[in-house]
């Protein structure tokens, strides 16, 4: 299909491209950062599958319905295969439960911000971000990840959600075809700066806690901080 019947420009309210790409990058980056080296080939394979599926979704929309659907199916199969490969490579249950939720989560993020049909889904994005968060937590519990890595992973999870949600709401209000990069970029830069501050703060607190502050005091500190935040809300 080359020419639409009417030369009228249409708006599709799918998630905005720039923020969507950033969200996928954050999700993939976070999972790759936390995964053991043995899982990296599987992650690469997943990336290939996701790319094939996304390409298929694009073809479907531009009229190549059958070929597009076929590619989407192949892509989904490749992603599934990648998860299976990761599980086989890693072997141990602990490692599997640390890596697989993130891989599934990253795929869900892609499906949420680059949907085959419809206008994107915040629910799917939540599922994806939760998957990535589970990877962060399980990695922290069962594997000896360094504290800064975990901090970066947590920040990456929040940024994934933020960028994905931004892509969705910009898509809702302005549509995918509008020129929106500038506004999106400023928003993401703001969030990244805050994430940097959060990581710095966490790292600083960690250094303080090395000077023997009890767990109970930490809990109190955390609850206090949360209450303070709540009080800021009007």
């Amino acid at each position: 299909m080359t020419e639409p019947t009417r030369d009228r420009v249409s708006v599709s309210h799918r998630p905005a491209r720039f923020s969507a790409a950033v969200a996928v990058l954050f999700a993939a980056g976070t999972v790759a950062l936390l995964a053991p080296a043995t899982a990296l080939p599987a992650l690469g394979l997943e990336l290939v599958g996701v790319a094939v599926a996304a390409g298929g979704a694009g073809l479907r929309r531009s009229g190549w319905h059958l070929l597009g659907t076929l590619l989407v199916a192949i892509g989904v199969l490749v992603v599934g295969g990648a998860v299976a490969v990761a599980a086989a490579e890693l072997g141990g249950l602990a490692d599997i439960s640390a890596v697989v939720p993130g891989m599934v989560g990253a795929a869900a993020v892609v499906a949420a911000v680059a949907p085959v049909r419809g206008t994107g889904s915040r629910g799917l994005l939540k599922v994806g971000a939760t998957g990535v968060l589970v990877t962060v937590l399980v990695t922290g519990l069962v594997r000896n990840a360094t504290f800064p890595t975990l901090l970066a992973g947590t920040a990456g999870t929040v940024l994934t959600w933020d960028a994905g949600e931004q892509a969705t709401n910009v898509g809702e209000q302005l549509g995918r075809e509008a020129a929106t990069v500038r506004g999106e970029a400023v928003h993401i830069v703001g969030s990244v700066l805050v994430a940097g501050a959060a990581v710095g703060l966490g790292y600083g607190l960690r250094r303080v806690s090395l000077l023997s502050v009890s767990l109970g005091s930490f809990v109190l500190l955390l609850v206090g901080a949360l209450l303070f935040t709540a009080a800021l809300h009007d």
């Binding site: 937590l137 506004g183 805050v194 994430a195």
Partner: protein, 420 residues
Amino acid sequence: MKRRRTNRWRGVVGVALVVGAVGLAAKRPPLLLLAGVGVVFAAYPDLAPRTEPAVGLERTVSDPNPDPGDHVEVSVSVTNQGDGLLADLRVVDGVPPTLSVVESLPRRGTALRPGETDSFTYTVRAERGTHGFEPATVVARDLAGATEFETTVGAEALTELDCTTPLSSAPVRPETLQQVGRIAADAGGIGTEFYRTREYHPSDSIGRIDWNRYAATGELTTTEYREERATSVLIAVDARASAYRGPDDHTHAVVRCVSGARRLVDVLSRTRNPVGVAGFGREYCLLEPDTGREHARRAHRILATHETFDSRPPTDPVDLEGQARQLRASLNERTQLVLLSPLCDDEIVRLARRLQLAGHAVTVVTPDPTDEGSPGRRLGQVERRNRETELRDAGVRVVPWAADEALESAFDRATRRWHR
């Protein structure tokens, strides 16, 4: 200005609590500390500066008087007139609903420092008629995206695409137009053109006695001359929901009626006829007939901006009966009425006939909203033709105005027919 919280950061408190709980359960202070990231993000929306946006909008069109089918480039520039950063500004321009955008989009997402301006362009295809741009919708979010202000800007920038030909250059001359009704000079009085003679009455001025006849016959007679009075014309537009019809892919009848009304205001006010404007629809709207350039401008403004003439149909039912009563109350016996209506129902026909019977000269200019195609549409055409005949039978003059026809050629055809 509407303000609303987006609540998009609400989930991050949950993240903080879950991470904290896991850390606590596992008795791992480092995991507990990860919750700090969530806490910082939860505080972020409240720490980000939140200023009400002050946005200025300017809109220019490459050609304000295009020909039908021309592509017109519209450039819009938005300026941050406040003194805070607009981190996430979304602009959707108010393209006239009757036009379609053919290249790039009337939408923009941007960020503006104080005083900074960003602009974008898009292209619309012109269609016959006058098309007013609507105010642009602006949504401004703070840096965190937690608070959202929504407002409209550019209401004062009355951009218009005028895709019509002025009637002056048309074969229809103002005189012909006045004959659209009858010139309201069927009364004798003081003037220059001879009207009739009648028996002398003692109150008549001596100067008007026909002395020649007195010399010849010895009878006193008084000469009367045709009174010169300008015809006052009320131009009424039918903008009820039923009138918002048009052929596929073309402007609907109300847009054509309004643009026709504006051409008529131009031509009549140039010939110093008192001209007024009325509209049936969302609400009754009336500008009493008057002369002068300022008055003509006011008429134009009303036709361009009054909500009755909005390019979207009213949703509530219209009480034509009541609005007609208001119209009749404001008509004096010398006012003639030019009604612009696609004649999509019988109610408006009844109204025109009743006004004609009440002694007002009524002319109906009727843009054709139908097109070829399905049997239903052909039936609609037949119905309209019957209504036109019904009006002609009642003495109403009808000017059929075909789709894609210029108004002056419609007038031309109609006048030739009347003079046959």
